[in-house]
Symmetry: C2
Subunit: 115 residues, 2 copies
DNA sequence: CGGAATCCCAGATGATACTG
DNA sequence: CAGTATCATCTGGGATTCCG
């Protein structure tokens, strides 16, 4: 068995590593999904990703910003108003998210529910 | 911005979590990619995924087996001959892998190479 | 060859309290 | 509201050695 293209193993390893590094961890994907429904405030994301602590949310948002997947906009009002949103690059994860969603459904149907 | 389907956020969170749990970590995807080129022995995978320690390879293979992504076959010869291969479920990660590969390439082009 | 056993550490994550 | 600070814990992962 072999994938249809002819990319040798070592090259695949490197290319997929870049992607995995970005979505790796317990919180990245949930946060991105929350933002895929539109720009949101810190507290709104925290409500979506119900069990995340403020420390982790803050840290992950900073890393997503560094990787240019998310923008952070501060409106100088009182009290401060901060808004997070996906960049075009962040939105380009769309297809990958769909695949995760679809494969996750398949996996649950075939494995998890049978245990 | 919103994904094209109408699945509400909480349901997406659960479905993608299943998928992420399976591919999460530093080694899962590399191991699966190695096996996507055909069934292999312990030492062969270790050579493909060059920097992995035997402890981690052993541990990850066991977890992949538990999740029915990989089979482990022992041939009772001397010395023992052990073979690992992807199950159909494991092979069904194909599309996801392609997306990781393609998005990883995009990410490198847009971000990593500009730093 | 295909691991298991052991020791060890950095970093990931959690809980909670606090601040501008 | 949007975080930061602090302390505690838990786990991934590395290095090394040993075994049938």
């Amino acid at each position: 068995m072999k994938l249809k293209d002819n990319i040798p193993c070592p090259e695949k390893l490197r290319a997929t590593k870049d992607a995995v590094d970005v979505i790796n961890g317990k919180w990245r994907i949930p946060i991105i999904i929350s933002l895929s429904y539109g720009k949101k405030r810190f507290g709104e994301i925290q409500r979506d990703v119900a069990t995340i602590s403020p420390k982790m949310l803050s840290k992950e948002l900073r890393e997503l910003e560094l990787n240019k997947l998310v923008t952070r906009t501060v409106y100088d009002s009182k009290p401060v108003y901060v808004e997070y949103a996906l960049t075009p690059l962040g939105k380009s994860l769309d297809k990958l998210l769909q695949e995760l969603l679809s494969w996750g459904g398949k996996f649950r149907k075939e494995i998890i529910s049978k245990n």
